[in-house]
Amino acid sequence: MGTLAEEIFSYRLGRPVVAGDTVVVDVDHVMSHDTTTPLAIKAFRKLTQQNNGRVFDQKRAHIVFDHIIPAATIQAATLHREVRDFAREQEIPILQEGICHQVMPEKGFVLPGSIIVGADSHSCTYGAFGAFGTGMGSTDIGVAYATGRSWFRVPETINVHITGELPPGVFAKDISLEIVRRLGVDGANYRALEYTGEVIENFSMSERMTFSNMAIEMGGKAGLIAADATTQAWLRGRTDKDYPLLRAHNPHYEQIIEIDVSHMKPLVACPPDVNIVHPAEEVEDIKIDQVFLGTCTNGRLDDLEIAANILRGRTISPDLRMVVIPASREIYLEAMRRGYLEIFAAAGASVGTPGCGPCIGRHFGVLAPGERAMTTMNRNFTGRMGDPTAEIYLGSPATVAATALTGHITDPRSVLFTENLV
C-alpha cells in the first residue's frame, strides 16, 4: 500500500513504511564521480579502521570519471590520480565511458525496485527505471562505501500525471520545463515526484530519463516512474538479475499535478533559474554565441537523432559555435555508425568525447563575459558554464539544433515544418 517511493522502501526493508518514517537501509549500489570522490575518500578513510579499509562490496561500488574527462588542467589530473590510486587499492574499476547517470543504467546496475545513492545531484535519473536513486554529498557516499548503508526519511510524493497527444516539435524536455515552471525551483523539496499517465507510458527510456533527471531542479529527492514492459525491454541483455515490477497501490499523494500536453509549445528556460520558462517563439530575438547538445538530460541517441535530422546537409550559423557531446561511449559509437557525428562535424560542430563537457564550466566550451548559450542542459545557474555574466538558456535538442542554424533562439517548429521533418 502506498506511493511508488513507499513501495520501494517497504520492499527493500521487508516491512511496511510510510512517508515521514526515518529508516536505515542497505543500498544496492553506490556511485561517485571524479569531482565528488576525493571528499568521499576522506570520509571513507575516517570510518574504515573498523572494516580493514575496504569498500562494502567491490561489485556495488562505482567510480565514474565524467566531469573533467580527459583532464583539462594539472589540478584536475592530480585529483584524478588520487582517485585512480584509491580505485586500484580497492580493486574497483573506474568507468570512463560517459556520464555517470547514463553509464550506470547501461551497465545494468540500475534495476527496478533498487535503492541507489550517488554523489551527484542528478542521481535521481535512476528513477526512470523505477529505482529509488537520489543524490547525496560525499560524506554520505563515503559512509555508504564503508558500510553499504544509508539513512533516509521516506518522502511524501507529488504525482505528476501527464496526458494528451504530444504536438510535433514538443518533446520530453519541453514537458519537463513546464513541470518546473509550475512547481518552482523548490516545489518538490524533500519530496519524491512520481510521473504517471499515457504520455509517460508511451515514452522511451531515454525520454523518461529526461523527466527523472530534472526532478532535482524542483528540489525533488527522486523522480520515479514505475517500471513496465518498456523498462524490461531496455534492460534485456544488460542484466541477468531478477527484479520486481513495483507500482503504487492506493497511494496517498501530497499533491497531484495534471498536465495535458495537447496544446503545448516548445519551451525555453531563461537565466538564472530553471522555472523562468517562456515559449521559444517569444524569446526568438535573443542572440546566441554557443549551442550545446549533450548532458545527462539530453545527450542520448534519440536526442542526437532529432538534432541530426535538423542539421543534415546544413551548416551552423557563422555567428556561433556548436558543441555536441554524446552521453556515453555506447551512444557515441552508435551515433557514429548511423552517421550523426558526421552530420554534426560537417555542419561545423565540435564533437566531444563522452562526459559532462561544458555543463559544469570546466572545459570544452566555456563562455566569455556576456556571452549566451542555448543548451540541452538541466541547469542555467549563474556562472555554471564560465564567466558569471554569461547567460544559459535551456531547451530541447530540436530547439538547440534550430538555434544552431539561425544564431538566435529559434522555435524548432519553423525548421521542422518547412523541412517536412515531422
Binding site: 589540478q75 554523489a119 554529498g137 539513512w151
Partner: protein, 164 residues
Amino acid sequence: MGRIWKVGDNINTDLIIPGRYNVTTDHAQLAKYCLYEAYPEFSQGVQPGDILMGGHNFGCGSSREHAPTAILANHVKVVIARSFARIFYRNAVNIGLPVLVCEEAVLNSEDGHQLEVDLTSGQISNITTGKKFQSEPLDPFVARIVAAGGIINYIEANNGQLIY
C-alpha cells in the same frame, strides 16, 4: 555573538562555490572562493563566529559537499535560513556545519546586524534590534547526528555501524 552576512532566496551551490573553483579539497582555497560572485565581500570580511543567513531554498542545485565545506572553512558559526535544499542540509549536518531553519529571524534581521545563537536550544537573539526568535526543532535522528558532531562521529560512536 557574530555579524550577519545575509543573502537572498535560492542561493545555489554554484553561487556558494562555483564549479570552476571546486576542483580541490583544500579548505583555504574553498574558503577564498565561497560566495565569490554572489557576495564578494563575504569571504574577505567574514570573521570566525559570524552567521550566514539565507532566504528560501538555501543550497539548492548540485550535491557538491564543497559548498557547506567552503562555508565551514570560513569558520561560520551557523547558517540560518527560511528553508534549505535537501542535499545541502544533509551535507551540512554530516560535516558538522550547524544549520537552523527560522523564518522569523530571517524576516526580522538585516545584513550587518549582530546575532547571538544558542545551538543547543535553537534560541536566536538579534543583539542589534533586541528581538528574540526560536528556530524549528530538528528531526530526532538528525539531532543525534548533530549532537555527535557529524555522521562520521555518530557512526564511530556506534562501533562503526550506521544504525537508527
